[in-house]
């Protein structure tokens, strides 16, 4: 999707809480690279910061990353060349998610790339898009 970028969204809440601007992030992915549990997470800390800056709040709040990261390990925060307090960022995001009563997700994430869910019957969507029906179809 094309994202419309502006300055509001929960990034302001996060920035006030940690007192540092998220634009300081170097996007060097040292945090994601160094993380020992990256297989279990669906987002790396870098992607969390970049999504917050891109106003993809829903994506971040729905992800599993904010629930599991930073609870007992601070691998990413230790290596960050800019010194962004990633654990506090995750903590603030957890509070925000709870405020929006999003229930926590601790289970194993589903695999990285997912199925093509086009089958109307199983997805419960009424009208499969016309184009799926066979026979000659029209340009418009």
């Amino acid at each position: 999707m094309r994202l419309r970028i502006d300055e509001d969204g929960i990034r302001n809440v996060v920035e006030e809480a940690i007192g540092k601007s998220l634009t300081a992030c170097l996007q060097c992915s040292k945090c994601g690279g160094g993380c020992s549990h990256s297989e279990e997470f669906d987002l790396t800390p870098r992607q969390v910061v970049e999504s917050l800056l891109d106003c993809q709040d829903q994506n971040v709040l729905d992800s599993r990353m904010i629930w599991l990261c930073g609870r007992h390990c601070s691998g990413c925060q230790a290596v960050c060349p800019v010194g962004l307090p990633l654990n506090d960022i995750m903590a603030v995001l957890r509070e925000e998610a709870l405020k929006l009563d999003i229930e926590p997700k601790y289970e194993q994430p589903s695999l990285v790339y997912h199925k093509f869910e086009h089958c109307a019957k199983h997805r419960g969507e009424g009208e499969a898009s016309e184009s799926m029906v066979g026979g000659e179809t029209q340009p418009a």
Binding site: D42, L111, H114, C119, A128, E136
Partner: protein, 237 residues
């Protein structure tokens, strides 16, 4: 499981260039600058289509991911990316070639099947790709018979191609192997999801890989470029 870089075929792109006879060139010059995706109309409406990533995967040799992806079939072919590319990479030619390669791997036949009518029923039978066939009820009753309008406009009621012209393109299609290509498409069977019966569901492609449908094993395509953080991936299994 994570992707292994040792899985990739590094010299795929270099060895493929001479074979593709000029349709595939200049991709090694790609700056990965993102200008194509920035202006791409398809990338604006789809969750995960990204021309820059497809070019990157082709030059890196990650052929599996490109050919088995749904995104390869979401390109609008508007060559806007070619018009803004600082390195003049003709991306629609890449999509055209790698859709053929994906079909050779067994992907995408369900999309091509829907276009079979244009090639077999219209192009080879009466020489014109888009016939006067109408399916939209509003258009049928408001516009009615197009030949009446053609006569009013001073044109012959129907546009016809001479029988000899049709014979000639049929021969061209036989000689160049298009007819053999069309037979393969014939083998694909499309099921109507809205009136899906259990028996039909059994043979449907969302099930574990159906037995060969005609001569073609229709593989199931995946969203290979969806960002891991995408909403769908967050649902726990």
């Amino acid at each position: 499981m994570l992707e292994q870089v040792k899985d990739w075929d590094d010299d795929f792109y270099e060895t493929f260039k001479p074979i593709a006879m000029g349709f595939v060139n200049e991709a090694e010059k790609c700056l990965q600058c993102g200008k194509c995706t920035g202006q791409c109309p398809a990338a604006a409406v789809t969750p995960s289509y990204n021309p820059r990533k497809i070019i990157r995967d082709l030059v890196y040799g990650n052929v599996k991911r490109v050919l088995s992806s749904v995104e390869l079939w979401q390109c609008f072919f508007c060559s806007g990316c070619y018009s803004v590319c600082p390195m003049d990479i003709n991306f629609p030619f890449f999509v055209f070639m790698f859709r053929l390669a994906a079909m050779n791997e067994g992907y995408g036949w369900e999309d091509v099947k829907q276009l079979e009518g244009y090639a077999e029923k219209s192009y080879l039978k009466d020489g014109i790709t888009v016939s006067t066939f109408e399916r939209n009820p509003f258009v049928m009753d408001n516009i009615g018979d197009i030949s009446k309008i053609r006569v009013e406009a001073g044109l012959p009621p129907e546009r016809t191609v001479s029988p000899r012209g049709i014979a000639e393109i049929n021969m061209i299609s036989d000689l160049s192997g298009m007819t053999a290509f069309m037979k393969q498409i014939g083998g694909v069977e499309l099921l109507d999801c809205t009136t899906c019966t259990d028996e039909q569901a059994k043979r449907c492609k969302t099930k574990p890989m159906p037995s060969k449908v005609g001569k073609i094993k229709t593989h199931h395509r995946y969203y290979n470029y969806g960002e891991p953080g995408g909403k769908k991936n967050a649902e726990a299994r």
